[in-house]
């Protein structure tokens, strides 16, 4: 009797063991990253798989951000969606205005029995991928901020300090030019000089609470006097040789900085890792400048980069795995690993404190600039924006900016065109949601 029961228990144990090995739930993660960032993603997934045996996560690169989003959409329409989809900032409205497409990250995590503390996330990250009530829909993942990189030799030669405001820049630009440098270039003006112009100066970007409240009747504030002034100044600096514009391509504007021809370059905090390998001279970084005479300016910038969305229509077991992965991803150790490997900012305060306590920023002061900028005091209009068909609105801006610097149009006319065509696209988007 004893023997048989022992055998029975053994058999039972063996079968549960076998069962647990078989029932490791598979989940997939589609993302839009390549190169060293993709490797970091693979490493994080491996760490997650090694840390537990209930879930098995497979990351798949789907090309660029845009390609990942359209692949995710196509897959959703045919019922083959991945569990986790990475969606970039400009695509946020597309996925967040389709409420049936995603399970809000906050709900997912709470349903799986974990606690969720919004306040644990750093200031600048908290609202961008959240709904109007502040509930996290997307899980902030790779976050970046537009910052100003400084060619330290150039500034030393010219005998000037890095500018904090655009007024400062105007004062030092002649000296930098005199020293034989192009004073400034900037990549992706849409992100640096439009979207984050609004956040950095705490100015409303779009009606309906920057688009958060409703898609109906949302319009963009493209005729703001300060915004127009920013671009009129850029054009003026361009004509005087204080600012060089190399088109909409990111690397065309970054290249001359790497080659030591440019004194100041506005790029992403995430460019830091790459710049360390490509820059031919020592560099440092500081916050994105703002106009000192705009009241209330100097607030934090929007986060760039992308977030992770849990796609709807998945069984509970898989959702539980996705939740446990999100939980894993926000742990300070994983965030610190991601931050230090890629240059993206950590999304939680705990991870920032951990990196700081280990002396990471003493070795790499530039790595801290992005997160410090995101942690600046927030304003009413620096939380985020939610605009439909936004990638196309960005394309319109890119087209008009090229025309401004080619003298084909004036700044005022260009922004009137952007407003007209942008508002038409927003109205069109509102109809797709109807």
């Amino acid at each position: 009797m004893k023997i048989t029961s022992t055998i029975a228990i053994l058999a039972l144990g063996a079968s549960t063991l076998a069962a647990s090995a078989q029932t490791a739930t598979d989940i997939t993660w589609w993302h839009g990253m390549g190169g060293s960032n993709q490797e970091a993603i693979n490493q994080i997934s491996q760490q997650f798989n090694d840390s537990q045996d209930q879930c098995n996560l497979t990351p798949v690169s789907r090309g660029t951000y845009e390609e990942a989003l359209s692949a995710g959409i196509a897959a959703f329409r045919s019922g083959e969606q991945p569990n986790i989809l990475q969606v970039f900032d400009a695509g946020a409205a597309t996925i967040m205005n389709a409420p049936g497409a995603v399970v809000p990250a906050e709900d997912l995590i709470k349903n799986a029995g974990y606690d969720f503390d919004r306040e644990a996330f750093i200031q600048g990250v908290r609202y961008f991928y959240a709904d109007a009530e502040g509930k996290f829909v997307g899980m902030p993942f790779n976050s970046s901020a537009p910052i100003m990189y400084i060619n330290t030799d150039a500034l030393e030669e010219a005998g000037v300090e890095a500018p904090k405001t655009w007024e400062d820049f105007e004062k030092i630009a002649p000296a930098l030019k005199e020293a034989g440098y192009i004073p400034m270039t900037a990549s992706q003006l849409t992100w640096m000089m439009v979207e984050n112009f609004f956040s950095r100066h705490n100015i409303q970007f779009a009606s309906n609470n920057n688009g958060y409240d409703s898609v109906e009747g949302t319009t963009i504030n493209m005729t703001d006097e300060h915004l127009i002034r920013m671009f009129e100044k850029l054009k003026e600096w361009h004509d005087e040789g204080y600012y060089a514009y190399y088109g909409a391509g990111w690397s065309d504007n970054q290249g001359p900085f790497e080659q030591d021809k440019v004194a100041l370059w506005i790029g992403s905090s995430g460019s830091f890792g790459g710049l360390q390998q490509t820059a031919s001279m020592p560099f440092s970084a500081t916050f994105l400048p703002y106009w000192g005479d705009v009241e209330g300016a100097g607030t934090n910038t929007f986060i760039g980069g992308a977030a992770l969305f849990a796609m709807a229509g998945k069984p509970d077991a898989e959702n539980a795995c996705t939740a446990s992965f999100f939980q894993f991803l926000t742990s300070p150790e994983v965030q610190k690993f991601w931050h230090e490997t890629t240059g993206y900012v950590p999304v939680t305060e705990a991870a920032y404190d951990l990196a700081k306590s280990e002396g990471h920023y003493e070795e790499q002061p530039v790595a801290e600039v992005g997160i410090q900028q995101l942690m600046l005091e927030g304003g009413e209009w620096s939380r985020g924006y939610r605009l439909g068909f936004y990638p196309q609105i960005r394309s319109i801006m890119e087209r008009e900016f090229n025309r401004i610097f080619a003298d084909e149009t004036t700044v005022t006319e260009a922004f009137e065109t952007i407003k007209e065509e942008g508002d038409a696209l927003l109205a069109r988007f509102a109809r797709t949601a109807g």
Partner: protein, 322 residues
């Protein structure tokens, strides 16, 4: 080169049969084959028809259908809007601008790649010593995939390090590809033509080699002038090949240059010229505007359809198939 002669030379003959079909005549009654069962021919055709149905008819029908709707990308809400997507596209300034560029681009790329291909073929045909080497060198470019061609072109025309840009600067041309509309258009046409010349070269060369030696010799006795001889004897005999290439080149310029353009505008068209097919992609896949993008692709489909009909109806009549 003999092994190269047969398959390309067969293509114009296929076109002739297609043309005859379009005019409603039986092409070659002598070649008619009798099948025992009425089903058997369909059975043979089935695999090909299935491929066409799955990869062409079905998506086309879907495109036509979604062009009448405004849809949210995830497929939750879709509103019937009738012809609104078509009206939006055709009345938009940016669409008209892209359409104008596409027309100019197609004409220039087709004309330049055909004429340069023909010129090289005529010259290569006349070379006797080292002929194989010349031909191989000229043809080898054809093996380059369009995105790779775009990348190579991009490097040549890079605004910071491109050798062509430096060359242009030497002539006082401050070339800024990616920034200046005209310069980018120039670079795009340059790379697209360069990529297509070898294809035309192969066909023209085999077409030239198919011109019988006896005809050439007879022409040589009648006329001393090489240009007149080419114009009156060789050119008409080459016409079927040229007509075939014309259609292929127009299709190339309209559709297959996508890879070149995508690489050259680096994902951000901004103010740079793009073609209609790139705009379909940009609005549909980057902008997720499925209705608008479908309407544009239907318009493009109709244009190509009309163009092909016109070519067969009017141009093809003047061509004599040997």
């Amino acid at each position: 080169m003999a092994e190269l002669t047969s398959p390309p030379a067969a293509a114009p003959r296929m076109m002739a049969r297609m043309a005859a079909r379009l005019r409603g005549k039986a092409a070659d009654p002598a070649k008619r084959v009798q099948f025992d069962s009425r089903l058997l021919p369909w059975l043979f055709l089935a695999p090909q028809l299935a491929v066409i149905a799955v990869f062409f008819y079905w998506p086309s029908i879907q495109a036509v259908q979604s062009s009448f709707y405004l849809e949210d990308p995830f497929g939750f809400g879709s509103t019937f809007v009738g012809m609104a997507n078509y009206a939006d596209a055709l009345t938009s300034n940016s669409y008209q601008r892209v359409a104008r560029f596409t027309a100019i681009f197609t004409v220039l790329v087709t004309f330049l790649s055909l004429s340069l291909g023909l010129l090289l073929a005529v010259k290569a045909d006349a070379v006797i010593r080292g002929a194989a080497t010349y031909k191989t060198l000229l043809i080898s470019v054809y093996a380059i995939a369009p995105p790779v061609a775009g990348l190579i072109g991009m490097m040549f025309f890079d605004m910071h390090i491109g050798p062509f840009v430096k060359l242009a600067a030497w002539f006082g041309w401050d070339m800024r590809v990616g920034l200046n509309y005209f310069d980018t258009a120039f670079a795009m046409i340059f790379v697209s033509v360069w990529k297509q010349i070898p294809y035309n070269f192969i066909f023209f060369l085999s077409g030239l080699q198919a011109v019988p030696v006896s005809v050439r010799e007879a022409a040589f006795i009648d006329c001393k002038n090489g240009w007149t001889r080419f114009r009156t004897v060789v050119m008409p005999l080459l016409a079927p090949t040229a007509f075939f290439l014309l259609i292929i080149n127009i299709t190339y310029a309209l559709f297959d240059t996508f890879g070149v353009i995508d690489v050259m505008v680096k994902d951000k068209p901004a103010n740079n010229p793009i073609t209609l097919v790139y705009k379909v992609y940009d609005d549909g896949f980057r902008g997720n505007d499925i209705g608008g993008s479908s309407a544009q692709s239907v318009i493009l489909m109709l244009v190509v359809f009309a163009l092909t009909i016109v070519q067969f109806r009017f141009l093809e009549k003047r061509i004599h198939y040997g």
